[in-house]
């Protein structure tokens, strides 16, 4: 019994995947499992308060997602963890868009506003049909921890009708749909990706591995884990 408890206590950084009742959360868990890392899915502010890293996934509509995050009472704990405790944070797809100031998806909705960005529908007059569904090449702006060991212009899976436009700096990568659009953003401990790393085979696993490395680089005591 005691031994088992010790193992649990030692086991890795706890990554909390924030559950706001939308989207396919389990694929993020399985992708992390495949990298030998544990994660829990939770909407409990107490679990979010003790997690060592946070992932905000998302498939869904912006307004509905914000409503659920707000009504779940998650905003204060998220902001405290991200801005005071500075825990690594990864937003995926809609989870990245929610970091922006506002979205025009189905009316005007306020986002979390952590990043100076705006979310709008992809224009219909570009080279692709909207939604932007499928594998596209990602052009990384610089060599940074988010794209370590990922080749320039390698493929990631996208699935979205809306895209984020940055007002300030922080663009980590773009992808081309006739015009370059935002594919990834980094700002201190906050990472966001428009594509789905959990569904992008090995390139996606490399990105998630980079996120795990980012977690342990910020918390040297946990380096043995994962």
């Amino acid at each position: 019994m005691t031994a088992a408890r010790e193992i649990t206590a030692k086991a890795g950084p706890t990554i909390c995947i924030i559950d706001y009742g939308m989207g396919n959360l389990s694929s993020v868990v399985w992708a992390l499992h495949s990298l030998g890392c544990r994660a829990e899915i939770s909407n409990n502010p107490e679990r979010i308060a003790v997690a060592e890293a946070l992932i905000l996934p998302g498939v869904g509509a912006f307004g509905e997602a914000m409503l659920r995050i707000r009504s779940g009472g998650l905003i204060p704990v998220l902001e405290r963890r991200v801005f005071e405790d500075r825990v690594p944070f990864l937003g995926i797809c809609l989870g990245m868009q929610l970091l922006g100031k506002q979205s025009t998806e189905g009316g005007i909705h306020q986002g979390l506003g952590w990043i100076d960005a705006q979310v709008d529908r992809i224009p219909d007059n570009l080279a692709i049909r909207v939604p932007h569904i499928g594998w596209n090449e990602v052009a990384w702006a610089a060599n940074s921890p988010i794209n370590a060991s990922i080749e320039q212009n390698s493929h990631f899976y996208f699935n979205h009708s809306f895209h984020m436009t940055m007002a300030g700096d922080g663009v980590a990568a773009t992808t081309n749909i006739g015009e370059p659009i935002l594919a990834a953003v980094t700002k201190d401990n906050i990472w966001g990706v428009q594509f789905h790393p959990e569904k992008s085979q090995n390139n996606g696993r490399r990105l998630l591995r980079n996120f795990l490395n980012f977690i342990s680089s910020r918390q040297p005591a946990l380096r043995h884990a994962c």
Partner: protein, 290 residues
């Protein structure tokens, strides 16, 4: 730029992946989890897993099917088969589906498309339309696994689904199912012209050449195949190499890229010349640890 997608369609009947012929006959292939793992390794771009068990949607077979395969699927997973309510859409997404395929609801209850799209976004909703050709040579849409005719013609049905919020149309020619005659290109083009969202073509692929025929139609986002993928090893990777040799723009990342190989009419690999085999050097790839 955005790549063409090869979509692997796995039909599951009573828990077993089957090949389907004209929606009437089924040949068993094997376990869904293993089929998914193979397609993953062969570099498929998306997997559509469709439960065609007679009771799908009324029992827990759909749920069990997703729970079995989703942990092994690191490419997008679309799920279909008897999904008729928003609760089912919700359950399917929570169990591990990235996208949901609606068929009967597209004809009977288009409001479900709107409901699902407003909750999960249009990009998550695929409207599937099964088509038969009638005696006059025009197209009729069918639901209930090809048994019940719909009043609206396929193009009008596709347009209505788009207007209700569907993010993609999956068009399937029942008369080509299992035929190995290739897609009905006329039908695919008709649907592509009727809607502004991407279209996935399905039904009839027997060789990569059939996918080549459809890849240049404007609006085709996905080239889907079912039975074809089960005929030989590495089908997804071989098909991609054959398409790229014809100017296709695809994601082709796997080590087995079949570059420089030639293919016969059925898309099978041709043996390399003895001279080039003599020159070949075996390269050992160590598995990358990520």
């Amino acid at each position: 730029m955005l790549k063409q997608r090869i979509v692997g369609v796995l039909l599951v009947r009573e828990g077993i992946v089957v090949q389907s012929i004209s929606f009437k006959k089924w040949l068993p292939v094997g376990k869904p989890a293993i089929a998914v793992e193979h397609l993953n390794r062969w570099g498929i771009d998306e997997i559509a897993l469709i439960n065609i068990s007679p009771n799908s949607g009324n029992d827990d077979s759909l749920h069990r099917m997703i729970a079995d395969v989703a942990p092994y699927c690191f490419v997008p997973l679309a799920i279909g088969g008897g999904i008729r309510t928003i609760e089912q859409v919700h359950d399917v997404v929570r169990t591990g589906a990235d996208r949901v395929i609606l068929t009967t609801a597209v004809a009977d209850n288009p409001a479900l498309i709107t409901q699902a799209a407003s909750r999960f976004g249009s990009q998550a909703i695929i409207a599937a339309i099964d088509v038969r050709k009638n005696a006059q040579g025009s197209y009729d849409a069918y639901v209930d696994y090809g048994r019940r005719k719909v009043d609206l013609a396929p193009a009008a049905l596709a347009k209505r689904a788009e207007d209700h919020g569907a993010g993609e149309i999956l068009i399937q020619a029942i008369y080509r199912d299992g035929s190995r005659l290739g897609y009905d290109l006329e039908l695919v083009e008709l649907i592509c012209k009727a809607v502004g969202v991407p279209v996935i073509a399905l039904g009839g692929v027997g060789a990569p050449a059939h996918m080549v025929d459809a890849m240049s139609i404007a609006g085709v986002g996905g080239l889907a195949a079912g039975n074809y993928l089960h005929y030989t090893e590495h089908t997804a990777a071989v098909a991609k190499a054959a398409l790229m040799a014809k100017g296709g723009d695809l994601r082709h990342d796997s080590y087995a890229d079949y570059e420089g190989f030639s293919f016969d009419a059925a898309g099978r690999l041709k043996k390399k010349s003895d001279a080039s085999l003599m020159d070949m050097m075996f390269v050992h790839y160590t598995d990358e640890v990520i």
